[in-house]
Symmetry: C2
Subunit: 194 residues, 2 copies
Amino acid sequence: MPIVGVEEIRKQQLIDAALASIAELGLQKTTIMTISQRAGMSSGIISHYFGGKQGLIEAALRHLLDKLGRAFLEKIQQTDGSPAARILCIIEANFTEFQRSELAARTWLSFWARSMHEPGLKRLQQINNARLCSNLRYAFAQSMSRDKAQDAARQTAAMIDGFWLRSALSSDPDENFAAGESLCKTFALSLLTH
Amino acid sequence: MPIVGVEEIRKQQLIDAALASIAELGLQKTTIMTISQRAGMSSGIISHYFGGKQGLIEAALRHLLDKLGRAFLEKIQQTDGSPAARILCIIEANFTEFQRSELAARTWLSFWARSMHEPGLKRLQQINNARLCSNLRYAFAQSMSRDKAQDAARQTAAMIDGFWLRSALSSDPDENFAAGESLCKTFALSLLTH
DNA sequence: ATTTTTATTGATTGAACGTTCAATTAAGGA
DNA sequence: TCCTTAATTGAACGTTCAATCAATAAAAAT
């Protein structure tokens, strides 16, 4: 059933299938078989397009990071450049990305845990983290000193990640997410006005 | 070399070896061999004392949770019962436990990730989480309404977990930890006074 | 219609891992 | 000294999994 010029389509289908498997089974129990079956293809296709299972896993993480980055860029363009608006954008981008797919928080946690011991994933994670912190620092620095802004950014980033983590572990992820978004916003705004 | 009555000693040695292996290699690359070698014993001993690898992993998590609980109980007895003192105790207990063993944050993250898909670990994690939240809620409720206290507890718990997570993923865990403890305290105290 | 090229398959291979259990070792008791 | 019993070993076994690659299928080119 070969159709020419389907490389990008197949790659995306495999990434989607990988994310579905990771969300449902966890990274540990995700195998080449669970991915390829979900994609409706054979096991060999993964090594063919990604050089191996590890290549697909990294591509899937890169895809999630790209989506998160684009969510932020889209939101930031719909607002004025005020610090409060920027910060609300950052928080919303970090939360809405998850609402789109219920099980994404679990996927992130799986990636994080593995990134501790795999340099390829660790690099991707650190790039994303640096972006989040520097965006927050920049917004806070327009209303307070550099040092205060640094602290405020770290607290806000920690609270966002903490609610992510708790959503992944919670028995009611959705409720946790909604509460997290709201509580992160009120916290960040209170930092700006005091 | 059988010596009688060594069951509890051997179990503890295996738990220590398991935690060392998890911290160094991660839960995924921790095998019966990496654990038993670190303990200086043979591979079969793990099934003998814990019924299998999974039993040892759960016992190791239970051991970490016990240590965390005892750290809190010890600290709480050295203070008056004021809300501020209680909250500082909770935060300190959650951070000092990690300073004792540098790689503990990585161990926690490994456990958390696996607990998403393994009921035995999930149960342990939820018990610990419920304890943290209810301790915080109780302390805050002495200075504000129930609803406010609930929000404050969730924000504080999220910030603590967020800094834990960031320490595990950071390239400089110690600095991250010190900053986390300090910033969590200033946040929690500001909630009490406003 | 035939050949070439591209896409895909899936059985096979070999390595890694957890578990089992018969054998072994030495302490304690008779 | 001999026997019993608790403690421990590690080779063997069965399973799981990622990777490989020769075979296959169909589109494109001739």
